[in-house]
């Protein structure tokens, strides 16, 4: 039963497992931390947390609505609950998140596992590429989508140290320890410029798509197109200042997200630039908001929705070729 083993910390690069370790570490430091599981712990990585803190993983059963309500109640006695289920199932508890957690400003940190296309072939019901449309419009809620382990660990700590509701999208696949500069520090509501070799085009990434953006930037550099890449792990609050700084220097921006191209990062960028009246073209890399994402290997999904670094290069070239 391979899936029930605890993957060694050094041997696994899947963010879900590193999240399990990170949360377990934090719980040694912050005894108020508890986690709630909706019968998905070996998938979400919470089984690692349970390994270290067997008395602190509360089972809610397959009852996502009640799990979020219970988390709100636990927070009222000083606990810092981390309810965790598949990101797709936030569709089931959106109202609990809106009313009992966000409206009440409850100190609840929701972990959405398996966000976007990386669900291990789980198909249309489990792929969650539309949910930011609502999550980013819930007052009081902070929404974080880290791109590497370092950033995920830092963001979890910030969430523990910052009162109020958070929502994390914790991806299933393998990511690097650090995609960002040495000494990087996650800051709530702030993006970061990952590389800046000139501003022929601006890339704006969130989540693990920072890796795709870096690969695309290298390919573009080889074609003589200079790239500035900004990474936004904090989707809500969103760093408009960094975006405006980029928009003032570049004629074209391409957004990259593990989500559809409506309601998520592209919408944040487009709304902000429209509000500013910034004269900059914006292209989007992401899934199709009109599609259910059917079952398939993630390579095939990436090809179908044109989300590889080659597709980013093609998109940039198209945009720069336009008059």
């Amino acid at each position: 039963m391979a899936q029930f083993t605890i993957p060694p910390r050094e041997a696994t690069q899947e963010m879900r497992y590193q999240m399990g370790y990170a949360l377990a570490d934090l719980a040694f430091e912050f005894p108020q931390i508890v986690a709630l599981d909706g019968d998905l712990r070996t998938s979400s990585g919470l089984h690692i947390f349970e390994h270290f803190h067997p008395d602190k993983l509360l089972k809610a059963g397959i009852a996502e609505q009640n799990m979020i309500s219970m988390a709100a109640g636990l927070s009222q006695e000083g606990f810092i609950p981390f309810p965790c289920t598949f990101d797709a199932f936030c569709r089931r508890f959106m109202d609990q998140l809106y009313v009992s957690v966000a409206y009440s400003h409850a100190n609840v940190k929701v972990l959405g596992a398996y966000p976007g296309l990386y669900t291990g072939k789980a198909g249309a019901t489990h792929q969650s590429d539309k949910e930011l449309g609502l999550l980013l419009r819930i007052p009081n809620l902070r929404v974080i989508e880290p791109g590497c382990h370092l950033e995920m660990r830092q963001a979890l700590r910030v969430a523990v140290e910052t009162p109020g509701p958070f929502y994390f999208r914790i991806v299933r696949c393998e990511v690097a320890e650090n995609e960002l500069a040495a000494g990087y520090q996650f800051r709530l509501g702030r993006g970061v410029t990952v590389l800046d070799n000139g501003c022929d085009v601006g890339l704006v990434s969130t989540s693990l798509m920072v890796k795709t953006a870096k690969l695309a930037a290298a390919k573009l550099e080889r074609k003589g197109i200079r790239v500035r890449l900004d990474h936004h792990p904090s989707l809500k609050p969103f760093d408009r200042d960094l975006l405006y700084d980029l928009a003032a220097r570049t004629p074209a921006i391409v957004t990259l997200e593990n989500h559809c191209t409506s309601g998520g990062l592209f919408s944040l960028v487009a709304e902000a630039l429209a509000a500013k009246g910034a004269p900059v073209r914006v292209g989007a890399i992401g899934t199709d908001p009109d599609d259910f994402i059917h079952t398939g290997h993630v390579n095939d999904l990436m090809a179908r929705y044109r989300m590889t670094s080659d597709d980013v290069v093609r998109k940039v070239e198209e945009m720069l070729a336009k008059p």
């Binding site: 508890v34 509360l58 809610a60 059963g61 009852a63 609505q65 009640n66 799990m67 979020i68 309500s69 219970m70 988390a71 709100a72 109640g73 636990l74 927070s75 009222q76 006695e77 000083g78 606990f79 609950p81 109202d95 609990q96 809106y98 009313v99 009992s100 409206y103 009440s104 400003h105 409850a106």
Partner: protein, 349 residues
């Protein structure tokens, strides 16, 4: 000769039964103070109903049916059962009371004001722009509200989490209780039964569900639209300990219930079914879905309701007749603060 009377100065004929609301003490029928507890609680229920009518009319907003059906329970809860400190709403040793059927908050607001969480005068601005008294309660604004709500079926789960959390805090918190008042129609929500399942699973005997079984939903009758029976059997099947109060308006029965809930715990959450009447004590509202959502349209209607409440309860409880009249006279339907140049009108619910 009529006396002039300030209806907001209730201290002249009513005060909380307990001198220290942080303490719970059983008061049994053979105790000397039992009669005064009953009288104090009945008077409180009358005041809750009266101020509920007052604030709903001022706001042109409200849910009279569910507010009037829960008034007697709220009266006994705050007067006798619940441990709290209105001057320190966040007192860490308090019992937690959740109103899960949040639309019935006018009665809760009246109770909180009568116990001093905020001034009674605030009730005039229930539902007004800039008021802390929202149409459905906001815990970040109103003292004494444990959590925001308004979407049914969520708070039973919150109460489960709260009770679990209290139990995890250990022996120093072992006598703290969590009470949650649900609507009967609310029990149609699946998440309510998720909460019941979890409460039974975790054997949370510091948790009490109370169902205000007033038989009427927003637009119809429970038995006709979506019935709950056999309700007590269902609760028992979810590993809750059901108790049925044949008359959920009988203050003596409610006091007796309160005497037992906190001290007779059997490793299972209690689930109390209060047999009540929607709209209790205002004849036109009783058992009538049309008064689920609605407030008296004008001061004259409200004054008639206040008069009716006085005839039924106030008179026998020795409340001066002038109180009901003065409270009716104090009604001021709060206008909006802004004109609408587009003249878009919306009728009162």
């Amino acid at each position: 000769m009529t006396r002039t009377i300030n209806p907001f100065d209730v201290a002249t004929w009513w005060r909380p039964f307990r001198s220290d609301t942080r303490r719970f003490q059983e008061v049994f029928p053979h105790h000397a103070e039992h009669a005064s507890l009953l009288r104090s609680s009945e008077t409180l229920a009358y005041l809750i109903r009266s101020f509920t009518v007052y604030e709903m009319t001022c706001a042109a907003l409200g849910h009279p049916g569910g507010s009037l059906s829960e008034s007697d329970f709220l009266a006994v809860l705050f007067n006798h059962i619940l441990r709290f400190d209105a001057k320190h709403p966040q007192w860490p040793q308090r019992d937690a009371f959740y109103l899960s059927k949040c639309h019935a908050c006018p009665a809760l607001y009246a109770a909180l004001a009568l116990f001093g969480y905020f001034p009674l005068r605030d009730l005039e601005r229930y539902g007004a722009w800039d008021s802390h008294l929202e149409s459905h309660p906001d815990s970040t604004r109103t003292p004494g509200i444990e959590i925001s709500g308004g979407s049914l079926g969520q708070i039973p789960g919150v109460a489960v989490g709260r009770a679990l959390g209290i139990r995890r805090l250990g022996p120093d918190h072992a006598d703290r209780m969590v009470y949650v008042l649900l609507g009967d129609g609310e029990c149609n929500e699946g998440s309510v039964w998720e909460a019941f399942m979890a409460a039974g699973h975790y054997r949370l005997d510091n948790l009490v569900f109370i169902i205000d079984y007033n038989k009427v939903m927003a637009k119809g009758f429970v038995h006709a639209d979506m019935s709950l029976e056999p309700l007590a059997d269902k609760l028992a099947a979810f590993n809750l300990e059901p108790r049925v109060l044949r008359n959920g308006h009988d203050v003596a029965e409610l006091v007796d219930l309160g005497n037992h809930l906190a001290v007779q715990r059997h490793g299972r959450p209690a689930a109390v079914v209060l047999d009540t009447i929607k709209g209790k004590q205002v004849a036109c509202c009783q058992y009538n879905p049309n008064w689920h959502t609605s407030a008296p349209r004008d001061a004259a209607t409200a004054q008639a309701w206040l008069r009716e409440l006085w005839e039924r309860d106030g008179r026998r409880l020795g409340i001066p007749e002038e109180f009901a009249a003065a409270l009716g006279q104090a009604i001021r339907i709060v206008p909006p603060q802004h004109a609408n140049p587009d003249r878009i009108t919306e009728k009162q619910a």
